[in-house]
Symmetry: C2
């Protein structure tokens, strides 16, 4: 079978790889119908994060269950399923506490003997916990783009909003106009924010932002952006900052535009983010909460609204390719020519 394989920075190729088979009673084999390229795949593509040469890549996929192990109870052969983007067992104390993204027996796709999602088939361990079934009548047509967004970006944007405590009537600023940032806008609107400011200097992304619920675009960076956000918020800053980037600059921006007593919800994988000095924060009362989104928890929660069409993150996909075009897909995202790339099998 074919799968995307990482050969080094800026070098993703389609290769023949071993066809996966059930290794444990709790495994399922999923025949992938749709997968995506994620902004976080770009960290290794750009050589910023290390990754094993020859490893499969990708962590966002959905498709049809081909085989299940004897120990799988909820998932059946033929089911159409969405996978969570990080692996968890669903039974450890962290999973039981509702934070499967910190599962003590969990991890990522494409490492430690696990398949990556950008390939024709994927072995899914702990299938009952990792997969959410989509009713077959709904698993078709236009809804597919919205459904595949649930694997990661929609749940991650939602996590930023939950961590920043977005609730009815609050003011929100979203840092990051990529797919996660745009989904964070959608999540903020869903949770009742009254003002949603998107920091974006990119016209098309800002346009999707407006469609998703943005009330104000700040098309500036650094000090100019800080001033504009403060001007939009009675000179206080926003109640909730949703940090969806993970750089030194994005965190400086977050602290500059959050109001005292406000919250920073962060989901951008941190790269060179400066340490936070608690001693300087006593009179600020700024809360910081975030990390890897517990998608195995969120997918079933958000699925009904995606199925009903009420929650529609599909516009984040601006390019569709097939697996043979994978190199082109990575390049389009790397050069910001595409917000998010869908791979159709």
């Amino acid at each position: 079978m074919k799968a995307a394989v990482f050969y080094g920075p800026h070098d993703i190729r389609v290769n023949d790889v071993p066809t996966p088979h059930v290794q444990s009673p709790k495994d399922a084999i999923v025949k992938v119908k749709y997968a995506c390229i994620c902004g976080s795949d770009l960290w290794s593509y750009r050589g910023i994060s290390s990754r094993k040469i020859g490893s499969r890549i990708g962590h966002e996929f959905m498709g049809i269950v081909e085989y299940v192990g004897r120990g799988v109870a909820k998932i059946k052969k033929g089911d159409f399923v969405i996978a969570a983007f990080s692996r968890s067992d669903g039974t450890c104390p962290e999973c039981m506490a509702g934070i499967p993204s910190s599962c003590r027996n969990g991890g990522y796709w494409g490492v430690d003997g696990f398949d990556g999602g950008q390939g024709e088939k994927v072995r899914v361990a702990n299938a009952d916990n990792m997969l959410t079934v989509v009713p077959k009548s709904k698993a078709k047509g236009k809804l597919m783009k919205a459904l595949i967004a649930l694997t990661d970006v929609m749940c991650t944007g939602h996590h930023a909003a939950v961590c920043a405590d977005v609730t009815k009537g609050k003011t929100v600023a979203v840092i990051g106009d990529g797919a996660v940032g745009l989904c964070a806008v959608l999540a903020s609107r869903r949770l009742g924010a009254k003002q949603i400011i998107l920091l974006s200097t990119h016209k098309y992304r800002a346009k999707i932002g407006r469609k998703f619920g943005v009330t104000d675009i700040v098309d500036a960076r650094g000090n100019e952006a800080f001033k504009k956000v403060r001007k939009l918020t009675n000179d206080t800053g926003v109640d909730c900052v949703l940090e969806c980037v993970g750089t030194k600059e994005s965190w400086e921006t977050a602290f500059a535009i959050v109001r005292k007593g406000g919250r920073i919800g962060w989901v951008g994988v941190p790269h060179d983010v400066p340490s936070i000095n608690i001693s300087e924060m006593f009179s600020e009362n700024i809360g910081i909460m975030g990390g890897r989104a517990p998608s195995a928890t969120y997918i079933p929660q958000l699925l009904p609204e995606v199925l009903s069409g009420k929650l529609d993150p599909s516009p984040v996909f601006t390019k569709t390719i097939n697996l043979s075009q994978i190199a082109e897909g990575y390049e389009a995202m790397d050069k910001r020519k595409s917000i998010k790339v869908l791979i159709k099998f």
Copy 2:
């Protein structure tokens, strides 16, 4: 008139000071009936924080209004009032957002031309915002100790619990068995925590803790304490850590005993607390929120339950003195002979 004056580390004396008078239309003059010594007063007493020689000290007081300026609307001469422990104007954008402890025109008592609370009279600027009236029929007898605790420690303990998101059914650990830590226990019980672990090696403090709602005492420090807390919590750590100390050790403990996906609510004034590395926290999802408690917001919220006797923090007072014994009061707290000292005028 007489007031406590700071003469340097371990040197607090009672001195004659100028009697305060109304300086602005929004001022009130309060004749102090009760004041307290706070754990945070000890930072300057011990020479760890700098403080101006000759300055008045103390920020917890209540008493009877003697004069009000023309611009004071809600507070009247003769009212029995409780003061908030940090100054705020009640009108700036931060105050309007519900975080008066970050008031842009606010500050502390005993500095910047403002009286300290440990004295016979105090000028209170922005009196309508700073003072909460206690019905006269209630301002007497045993209730006084519970009421004066509202000025700071009860609100600060409550803030730790609010910041750590203590809600019904959660597991809580309180770090700090001083008055604030004990009030944090009381606040956690009030908010519905199902398990409240107090880290305390002090028998009498632990006894008050049990009275306040502690379910488990961990009488150990460092690694041994971490192990005990994990053993009490299905090997996960607690949902909510209430950090009521502010040292390197207390923060290390907080991170060691909070579960993944849990929260640290912190109110201990930080001294040499190490910086927090966000990059290490991505898979932990630990939230951090806290700082100076917005007591001007909390006092009116908590007052009805104190008046009804439902919320009774009075056992934190283990010594009562008059102003002339102030040096003895500080010494008792410094040497941990007393949890909290009440000054009766």
